[in-house]
Symmetry: D3
Subunit: 250 residues, 6 copies
Amino acid sequence: MRKPDGTMPLLAPMSQVAGRMAAEIGASLLRHPGPGRGKLMGGVAGVPPGRAVIIGSGTVATAAARVLMGLDARVTVMSRDLARLAYLQEHFGGRIATRVSNPQAVAEEVNGADLAILSVLVPGAAAPHVLSREMVRSMGPGAVIVDVSIDQGGAAETSRPTSHSDPIYVEEGVVHYCVTNMPGAVPQTSTQALTSATLPYIEALADFGIEDAMRRDRALAESLSTHAGRLIRGPVADVFGMQAAPNPFL
Amino acid sequence: MRKPDGTMPLLAPMSQVAGRMAAEIGASLLRHPGPGRGKLMGGVAGVPPGRAVIIGSGTVATAAARVLMGLDARVTVMSRDLARLAYLQEHFGGRIATRVSNPQAVAEEVNGADLAILSVLVPGAAAPHVLSREMVRSMGPGAVIVDVSIDQGGAAETSRPTSHSDPIYVEEGVVHYCVTNMPGAVPQTSTQALTSATLPYIEALADFGIEDAMRRDRALAESLSTHAGRLIRGPVADVFGMQAAPNPFL
Amino acid sequence: MRKPDGTMPLLAPMSQVAGRMAAEIGASLLRHPGPGRGKLMGGVAGVPPGRAVIIGSGTVATAAARVLMGLDARVTVMSRDLARLAYLQEHFGGRIATRVSNPQAVAEEVNGADLAILSVLVPGAAAPHVLSREMVRSMGPGAVIVDVSIDQGGAAETSRPTSHSDPIYVEEGVVHYCVTNMPGAVPQTSTQALTSATLPYIEALADFGIEDAMRRDRALAESLSTHAGRLIRGPVADVFGMQAAPNPFL
Amino acid sequence: MRKPDGTMPLLAPMSQVAGRMAAEIGASLLRHPGPGRGKLMGGVAGVPPGRAVIIGSGTVATAAARVLMGLDARVTVMSRDLARLAYLQEHFGGRIATRVSNPQAVAEEVNGADLAILSVLVPGAAAPHVLSREMVRSMGPGAVIVDVSIDQGGAAETSRPTSHSDPIYVEEGVVHYCVTNMPGAVPQTSTQALTSATLPYIEALADFGIEDAMRRDRALAESLSTHAGRLIRGPVADVFGMQAAPNPFL
Amino acid sequence: MRKPDGTMPLLAPMSQVAGRMAAEIGASLLRHPGPGRGKLMGGVAGVPPGRAVIIGSGTVATAAARVLMGLDARVTVMSRDLARLAYLQEHFGGRIATRVSNPQAVAEEVNGADLAILSVLVPGAAAPHVLSREMVRSMGPGAVIVDVSIDQGGAAETSRPTSHSDPIYVEEGVVHYCVTNMPGAVPQTSTQALTSATLPYIEALADFGIEDAMRRDRALAESLSTHAGRLIRGPVADVFGMQAAPNPFL
Amino acid sequence: MRKPDGTMPLLAPMSQVAGRMAAEIGASLLRHPGPGRGKLMGGVAGVPPGRAVIIGSGTVATAAARVLMGLDARVTVMSRDLARLAYLQEHFGGRIATRVSNPQAVAEEVNGADLAILSVLVPGAAAPHVLSREMVRSMGPGAVIVDVSIDQGGAAETSRPTSHSDPIYVEEGVVHYCVTNMPGAVPQTSTQALTSATLPYIEALADFGIEDAMRRDRALAESLSTHAGRLIRGPVADVFGMQAAPNPFL
C-alpha cells in the first residue's frame, strides 16, 4: 500500500523497528569477543568510538543512524539519493557524515569499519549487491554486518538468510546478521506499531463497508489484489504471467 | 588508588565501560521475548519508549544514562547525592529526570519500569539492598535488572553473581544480569582504556624508580600495600586483623 | 484560506502563538497553589518534572511541545496521525514521547498527569470530546487543562468557553483554561505575526487589483466568499442552506 | 550552612526553584498587556524573540537561564565572575551570550530589554544596586523586572518588597515583581526539594545524636548558632554586638 | 534544471558550498583589523558574540545559518517566505531568530550588525536591492557584507562584482565581499559535490541514450535548450527574442 | 598569575581567543587552493567533512574543539590527561572523539588528517615535539597545521615562528600557521576580554593600595616579581641565575 506522496504507511513503522534493532544488534555483536571484536561501539574517554557505515537513506537507515548516534558511534550514511542526504545532514547536524554512494566510495568507507548496516531497497526488485566479498573482507576480523535488505535477497555478496533461532554466521572473518523479518523479535513493540498503522484502515472498512471504503481512499483501492474472484493488480499479475482485470474502485 | 580530590583514576575507565555495557545489555535483554518483554527500549513513532531507572549517580550511572538517553528511553536517575543530581540535571538538561533516592521513591519509580540499572557503591562496604524482592516483583514479568553492584554483593535482594558464560536468570519474573567483572566482555576497549589509565604510573615507575616515584606522587604512595616485606596499608591490615607498619613514603 | 499543499498560511502564525501560550499558561496555573498543585513544571534537581500530555499534532501542538520541552517537562504527544508523530519524533529526538491516540491510550496517559493541552481540529466540524469527564477526574486535584480547541466547542466533556477577564474555573478538581481567541492576550506578538502573514496578500491586491490578484493566486481566489453581490463559496453556502454561485476566478 | 567547597547544600534547591520561577513569571508578566508588553518571550516564526538580561551567575541565574533558553528567548548573562561566565558559555554553548558586568555594560544591555532578572548575592551584605532608576526607565514601558535579590534588599534602585497576594507594581513604566520568599508559591516542589536536602542531616542527627553528628560533619558543626545556652557563632554575635563563645565541636 | 517539486538538484550542492563559505569568510574578514573590526564572531566568555543578519531563507541562507550558529554568533534570518521561516525556527530551535523581511525591519536589524549575508534569489530576474546605501552605512566601520546574490547583480546598493584574486573592497566603511562563482575557491569539495549531483543524469544518458533518457525523466527533458539544431526552450528563446520550437520529449 | 586551584585567570581569556581563532584560521587555510586543499572543513551533503586532530585538552583545545564541531568537522582531541578527556567527552557528547595521546596514536590520527591544531603546554618548559617531520608529511599535500604552542617553541618538528604580516609557510607540503601572539589579530575582542580579566585586580590595587591588595590576595602576591628593588620571585631568579629575596606579602 502506497500513498500518493510515495510513503508506505503500513511498512514505515516496521522499518523504524528494524532500523533501531539493526543498530542495537550490531553494537551487541561487536561487543561479544569471539565472533565480534570485543569492542564498545561508543568507546570511552581516551578510546575513540567505533566506526559505522549505513548504506541506504530511507526509514530503516534513518532509524539506525539515530540509535548509532545515540551510542556515540562515528556514523557515515551513504546513498545515491542526494536530496535525502541533504535532509539527513540538515537534520542530524554534524553528528553524522553523509557520502554519495558509488562502488569506490563504499569500498573506502567500509575498509576497517566496525559495523555496516545495509538497507538498500529497489522497489519490486532484488537488492543490489553493494558490498562485494572483497569489501566484506576489508572490514577485518570481528567486524559486523547487519543486512536488513535480506528480505529482498541481501545487499552483500556474502549475505544469506538466517533465522531468530540461529541468527549469525561468520564469513571472511566478519559476523553476518541476516535474519528475515527482524521486527518479529520485539513482538510487543511491533504489534503496537503495526496496530497503530492499520487501525485507521480497519475502522474505515468497518464504518463504510469494503466497497465504499475503497472508493473513499485511492491508496486503499490501489492496494487491492483481487476482487470478485479476479486478479485486479497489475504488478502481481505480471509476476504470475497473467492479465489483470480492471480495478473497479479506481 | 585514590587521588587527593577523591577520584579514582584507574577505576574510572572501567566504570565507564561497565555503565555503557549495562545500558546496552539491558536494552538487549528487554528485546528478546521469552525472558524479556519483546520491547524496544526507545519505542518508535506512536509507541512510547520504555522506562529505565538508574540507581546511583557516579561514573557507572552517568555512562549508563548517556547510552539510555541515546536510545531515546525515558530515564530517571536516583541517588542520595543531591549535588551530583544537580550536576546531572544541569548537564543532561531535560533529557533525564532526577529523583532523590529513598525506599518509597524507589518503590514508586521501579513499579512497572522496564529496566533497572543498579550502581550503588559504598566504599569498603557491601552494597546496600536498594531493591527489595517486592520491588523487583512490582516491575512485572519480562522487566530487566542489570546489577553493576554485584562485585560488592549486589544491590537487589534477588541478585546473585553470574558469569559471562551463563549471564542471566529469572526471578520474580524479572530477568537478572549480574555478571561480575563486566568489562571483561569487551577486551579490546577495556584493554585500551585500562592501559591509558595505568601508563602514566608505569612511566613514572620506569623513569624515577619505585622509591622516587612514590615520593613524587602521594596518591601512588598511599596505594602501596606492602614494602620491604611488611604490610603498610591500614585498611588492608584491618581486614586481616593485623597492625600496619608505617608507610615510608608518606 | 488554504494553500494547495493543505497549509493555512494566515492561521499558522496564530496557532504558533496559541500553542506557545498554552504551554506557558499551563505551567503558570500549575504553579499557583489553590486551584493548581503548587508545582514547578520542570522540577528541580532531585524532584522529577511534571508530566504533560498534548492531544493533537498540528501547529498548536508542536509549538506547545517545544515550550514544554524547554521547561524540562515530560511530554507525550498523542494523535491519530502516525506520519505526523513520526515527524515529531524524528524532529524532537528523545525529548518527547509520541503515542497513537485512542480512548484507552488517552485514559492511561492523562491519569495522574499534571497538564493536558487539547488541540484537536476536525476541519469544519465540532472538536470531538477526547477527554471524558471521568478522564478529567483521573488527573487528580490541582491538575490543569488548557483547551485550545474551545473555539470549535472544546475537546473535553468538561470544557466550556471562558474569557481573558475570567479565564479559569475548576471542575472535577481540575483547573480549566478555555479562553477563546487566546492570541488576543499578546497583542504585540500577534499583530506582528498576523501582519507578516497577511501583508503579501494585501500587496498583491494593491499591486494587481482585486480581480487580477485572484487570477494569479488560486488559494486567494478560493478563499473569496462573495463576489458581485453573490455568495460564491460552497461550504459557506451549505451552512446557510443556500446555493453558491460559481467563483469567476477559478 | 556552607560546605568546605563553598557550596550551600540547603540553599541550593530553593535557589533552583526561585530561578526557574523567576523566568516563568517574567515571561508571564510580559504577556499580559496593560502592565506588560503583550509579547511572547520566545516570539514565533517571523517575529523575533524577546531579549532577557540576567544579572548574576549563581544557582538562581543558571536556573533562570535554562528556562529562558527553553522558551527560545535571547539571553545575556552578566556577572563579574569571569570564571563562572566561562563555565556557563561552555555549558550552554551558543544559546546564551555572556558579558562581564560593569555599570556601562549593564546600561547598554538593559536598554530596551524585555526582561531583567536580578540575582546578585553578596554574602552577609545588602545586594548592590546594579540597576539605577535611569537604567530601569531605559527598558521602556511594559518591560519586566524580577528581582530575586529582594531578600537582601533588592538590586534595582526601584525595587521594594512585595508579597504573593499583591506581587507586582509599576514604576518608570516597568513591571516589578519583588516577592520575598518566592519558592513559597510552589509548595509541593519546594517541600520535596527542601526535604531532600535536609533529610541526610536529620538522619545523621537521629542516628548519631546531636553531639556526635556535629563532630562527624564540620559543616554541620559550623552552622550551629547556640550551644548550652551560649551564642557560639561569630557572624551572628557580630550582628548583636556580642562576643561568641567557642564552638565545642570544632 | 528544476524537478517537479521545484527543487534544483544540480544547483543545491553549489548553494550549500556558497552558504558555508559565506559564513566562514564573513567571520574571517571581521577578524582582520584594518578593513574588519578585529572581532571574533563568537566572542569569548564575558565578551558577547557578534551579530549576523542573513537575508534570504533558501539553501544558501540555511547553510550560512548553520555555520554561524556553530561559531556561536547571534543570527537573525530575514525573509518574506513565512512558511520557510517557520521551518527554520522549528529546525534550529532557539538558536536563531527569524524576522519577516521588509525595508523597515531590515534597516533595524542591520543597524550596528557585524555581518550581513545577502542571498536573495528572484528566479529569472535581477536580485532586488534589499540593502540601501544608507543601511550599509548604518552597520558602522569594519562591518562585513558577503553578497552571494552578486551573480544576479547583487542585493546591496553598494555591491559590485569582485574576483577571487581581489575579493574585497571597502565602501561606506563596510567591507564588501562580492566574488562571483564563490564555490570555485574550494575546488575539491565543489567538484565532489557537483559530480555527485550530475552523475545520476550522466549515467541515465549513458544507459538509455539521450532520447530515451529524456523521455524517462521529464525534468531532464525540460532542461534541454536545443534539439536537432533548433532552440526548444521558451525562457531562453524569450531572452533572444526568438520563437522556441516544441520540445519533442514532452 | 595562578590561583590556588591552578587556573590562570589572566591567561584564560586569551587562550579562548587563540583556540577559537586557531579553528577558524585552520578552516580558512584549508579552503584556499594552492597552499591548502581547496576543501570545506564541514563538507556538504554527500561530501564528508574534513578530519581535524587537536593535540592538547586545555582552554585552547576546548575552544578550538567547540568551533570545529560548529563547523561540522570530524574532531579528535588527543591528550595525556585522561580525566580531562573524560570531561570533554561527557561535555561534548558524541560530537567529538577523544584519544589518549602517545606517539603511535598521534601518528595514526594525523595520517591523512586535514587539520592539526597543536596546543601543548608544559608550564615553564619548551613545548614537546608531538609531531615529528614524518608525521607532518603523512598528513599529505595541502593539509594545515596551526601551532598555538609556538610561543613555547612549537609542538611540531617543522614549526618555526611567523608573524601576522607573513603568517604561513609550506613545509613537507603542509601549510604551517605559527604566528606568535595570535590574539593580537582580533584587538577588539582581545582588549575586551583582557580588560574583563584584569579589571578586578586593578580595582583591588586602587581600592586598597598595592601592599594591602597583595596581603588580601595570595595569588596576586605570588605573581609579584620585584619589590623594593629586589627580585623576589623564585622561578624568575632561577632563569637569571640569581637568588630571590623573600616575598614580604606571603
